[in-house]
Symmetry: D2
Amino acid sequence: MGMVGGGRGAFIGGVHRMAAALDGEIELVCGAFSSDPEKSRLSGEDFCLPPSRVYGSYQEMISKEKRLPESERMDFISIVTPNHVHYGPAKMALQNGFHVVCDKPLCFNMKEARFLETLVEQTGLLFALTHNYTGYPMVKQARAMVRNGDIGQVRKIVVEYPQGWLSTKLEDSGQKQADWRTDPKRSGIAGAMGDIGTHAENLAEYITGLKITELCADISTFVEGRLLDDDGNVLLHFDKGAKGILHASQISAGEENNLNIRVYGTRAGLQWFQMEPNTLYVKWLDKPMEVLRTGGSGLYEEAAAHTRIPAGHPEGYLEAFANIYRNFAFCLRARLEGKEAPAVYHDFPSVHDGVRGMQFIEKVIASGKSKKKWVEF
Amino acid sequence: MGMVGGGRGAFIGGVHRMAAALDGEIELVCGAFSSDPEKSRLSGEDFCLPPSRVYGSYQEMISKEKRLPESERMDFISIVTPNHVHYGPAKMALQNGFHVVCDKPLCFNMKEARFLETLVEQTGLLFALTHNYTGYPMVKQARAMVRNGDIGQVRKIVVEYPQGWLSTKLEDSGQKQADWRTDPKRSGIAGAMGDIGTHAENLAEYITGLKITELCADISTFVEGRLLDDDGNVLLHFDKGAKGILHASQISAGEENNLNIRVYGTRAGLQWFQMEPNTLYVKWLDKPMEVLRTGGSGLYEEAAAHTRIPAGHPEGYLEAFANIYRNFAFCLRARLEGKEAPAVYHDFPSVHDGVRGMQFIEKVIASGKSKKKWVEF
Amino acid sequence: MGMVGGGRGAFIGGVHRMAAALDGEIELVCGAFSSDPEKSRLSGEDFCLPPSRVYGSYQEMISKEKRLPESERMDFISIVTPNHVHYGPAKMALQNGFHVVCDKPLCFNMKEARFLETLVEQTGLLFALTHNYTGYPMVKQARAMVRNGDIGQVRKIVVEYPQGWLSTKLEDSGQKQADWRTDPKRSGIAGAMGDIGTHAENLAEYITGLKITELCADISTFVEGRLLDDDGNVLLHFDKGAKGILHASQISAGEENNLNIRVYGTRAGLQWFQMEPNTLYVKWLDKPMEVLRTGGSGLYEEAAAHTRIPAGHPEGYLEAFANIYRNFAFCLRARLEGKEAPAVYHDFPSVHDGVRGMQFIEKVIASGKSKKKWVEF
Amino acid sequence: MGMVGGGRGAFIGGVHRMAAALDGEIELVCGAFSSDPEKSRLSGEDFCLPPSRVYGSYQEMISKEKRLPESERMDFISIVTPNHVHYGPAKMALQNGFHVVCDKPLCFNMKEARFLETLVEQTGLLFALTHNYTGYPMVKQARAMVRNGDIGQVRKIVVEYPQGWLSTKLEDSGQKQADWRTDPKRSGIAGAMGDIGTHAENLAEYITGLKITELCADISTFVEGRLLDDDGNVLLHFDKGAKGILHASQISAGEENNLNIRVYGTRAGLQWFQMEPNTLYVKWLDKPMEVLRTGGSGLYEEAAAHTRIPAGHPEGYLEAFANIYRNFAFCLRARLEGKEAPAVYHDFPSVHDGVRGMQFIEKVIASGKSKKKWVEF
């Protein structure tokens, strides 16, 4: 693995490194950790990399790594930069034969997204987008239950992603995360809706297998002087007649990272909370609620295959994130060995999820500005 | 107290009787318990009433009670019939000098609602609408906290009322509650939105002191052949710039009676669940979450005055419902004695809340049919 | 109902009155509300009783009521005084033909307890002891599940009753409840173990149907200068080989009224919390945990018959307390009418439970002082 | 790191490897993964180790690694074998100058324990015992709060460790974990009390800083034919007058891994659940309960320094386990560089904790067989 971004002071880069390291399947062999070469160099030292494999730019990394013998060079790049530096390295990596793991959202707009999608299809390279919340075993259980008809036909979906950390104008304080996430130049046309709304959208479509067909959004910026949205409430229509609500917010004071979802079918409702991720509530129409647990009884293989330790030993955010890396690694290793990884490991978010997310961002922002009730996908 | 409705087989009538009896302030002295005189008579026997005080119709009850000596006759009527039999007895009672407790929603349409409102204002009689969820101590605490500025300026409100009991076409089974609540002739133009959506609307306005100014609704009937809505998702704009979401549903499979609300201000968020009503979560922006509890430390007088037993002895739905009756009784007794009840007891839903509820029903159903995004109040 | 104790300033008297009133089955017709006749008189006024039915002492009440015509006089007395005034009125009432409801613990020592037990047997009068926590529907469900073998053979019981309200020397402040409960002259030989330990003991035996055969107690007084125990930790042996732990405390800082129990059998474990009483957790050995709910699916008749309102409308402490009064009233009315109440309503704590409680108090205090490991029942 | 044990089919070995890998501070360089050399070899392949560094026995590993140049050889060994193979490799490693990480319990009896303790003291080598539950940030927060006097003087401690997985005679099924844990030859004189009771004992002493001075135990074997205890209920006396209860069980049907603790002081009570580890409840005597959260507001440095990601991104069992490895690695690296690691990282369980655990095992088993109430430490 070669990393783009994630140097000293970054947040998500460290998460990617821990997630990649956890299962002993992936080794960090090189990186362009910062757009500032000196910072990149220092970061490389932190990670005990040989200086020759620490690069001053992603361009340098990709071109130099390509010239290394196949057995030595990185197998894939992991892009952990702010949004405006996703497209460039992803495109260049794919064009040079490297597989890609990329943080979300995929890129900056639909044009870029479609281009990357085409490139992935043309090259046949592996591409994983780290919509990490789909890595939780109980999310996979929920998806399997819907797919197997356990809860009947889906009628209603409520997905929420409230956070409170941008309740004040934190970006003025120099806080790095707040800074770029509220800056249209680096974040894109959306703030909260891009940063976390896309996670909510992805989670809803992942679990239900349904696609949003139209939406009606009320998008707000509550903090004075902020340049992007910090709150959004959205009515959703899915295919097959399902309806839903999505709301995401970064001004919901006191909320930590409270992503959660409810899916109501004709036979039962499912409920899952990211902050208590090892529990899935199954609310049956006509019998007592059941509480499914990571590592516990009554789970589908999809859940069991993404669990590391016995029930009651809580697995968290990093383990879910690591499931994406591990599955990617299993598929990559299988390919390198000319094999096929078991189907259960083919489950990681793809470039198509990335396109879907970009589409959601464009539609939801458009709807927020529209007087028309429904905006179609 | 004289009761209209609530005879054998009814649900909410029994709730009203228990709520009225709990504090020993109110005595059931007469009733017209059913539109079927024989059923009314039998119900009167159940309640150990003398036959002379059991009437065959509310008209008979009001006119005969009026002729009794003041010290003997009922002081007020309690209307616990289906929606289509609220307006008649309320109007007649007010016109004949009886105070009124009335189940919600107030009546059938805005015209009736405005008429009753005027009648209450003209007669000066007491009128309580049993939006019972505002009777919970922790709801009153939330309201007091908002009013006192504890959570700063309100930005976002999320109020939910999911139930699952109408996930199938229960009305075809002869179940009495399902039968009238899905029948436009008895329930009015709205199903779920009238039955429980109005509770959600009332709760949000009660706690925040804000008024809905416009809304955008997605109203659905999921169960085939049902005549009224069984689900609604609504975007809300409140005055003073607050925004919100309201959703109410009777097809959310597996949900019992899961009314809950979150109110996010600039300094903190509040969260309350009806099914665990003795707890109020206060999520501070910059210090640990606090958990306020009925009967516990750190509460305003508004909460303390509506609590009967020490912390940790759970109070429930009936106690909250009884708070409306008790406050009504305190105000009525004070009036009969030419006094004024302490301000903290003047807190019960009024005919104005009833008008507001009717308005909500009309607007939300209209919005559901509109292609325009926002419908103004 | 005639009440002994429960005048102005009392706590549990008000609870008894609300519990008795809730279902409209019982009327308060007279009382000796205080050992101070003037205070009794004023309390009688509060409850709108005619002065002739408000007595200066329980002796006066029992003898005068006895002389009233049968149709007028009270049917039973309710004793809600501190512990040292249970035996006297209970004995006199039984000896004069009145049925009895008595607060717990039954009396002051085993001798008194055995005498009352004999008196109840000889007179055949109804006697209810208000171990109110057994009135909760989910407690009855737990008992039915154990009895029906749902959880297999019981192996281990953990019952806890932590409170924190006596963490400081509250009795010095003049607080009335703290005052008598820590006074050996009025409370007896035990403090916390008598006041709440007996509730825990009763709950464990009620749910499991097992009897404690021996115990090993560590009894403490943490607050300096306090005259009775304020904390106790007890190892238990039950018949049929079950083992257990009971701990009760009034110095567990920050705890409200956290009575809870777990019962582990060979097939499943049950868990119930008094502060969230409408939920019963069933932890199956080999399938997902189920969450049973008051008014919900999958309950035995014993639970359903003690529920007043639909699932999701929380019932609380007063409703559970009222279940004891209601069952007592059903049995009493049936007897007065020469009938037999349905079996499901014969379920209220008896004088035998009271004897058991006194025994527990004597044994647990003795064990606390003993160097021997086990003290037999 | 060189690993002893943890080959194919093992459980805790994988946990140690993930915990060691997470932070990129530790590299697995060699191992003796099984007492079966062929199995060791295959396991080494799984971990991509060069064959030369995969050994057939710990003896071989220690002696051969010792002969490697200092820059190449392992810095420490990690012992992840069943209990009966802790003492041998620990002793040999220490005697040959290798630092040690060892799974708990430390060894087989007090004699071995004392010997290892002396050896650690004499060699000055680093020794970490993986009482992993002390690695959770909220456990460290609890400890800091007690130490800083936030909850006043500790009065009562309740520590529980219920599991249900040995409710049936699982050892007869060939399940590897059940097999050795119920075998006195490999597990020692205690079953549940050694396996998980020691975790509970360690957690209580870690958080409170108090030492158990005497105990009174009721030790049981519920499953017929089982050779070691599967349940224990213990009364505890701590120094400074605190009292407590410890119970640990492997026959508590339906329980996963429900380690939890409550500590009551004169000013507040603390409560922590391993299965929801990112939350610490602080129950104040005279103000509302506060809910402290990993990564949240109001935490001591001891908690913050052991947290990897922002609040609301749940950290779990592996992260807590990794905190022990990371702290050990920080201290080891500092030592290798002739420096001193910051004080906050010196926090990992030591050989002294191991001695304490062995003492607990001996005393608790002795007490279980004694008719005397208290057994002194």
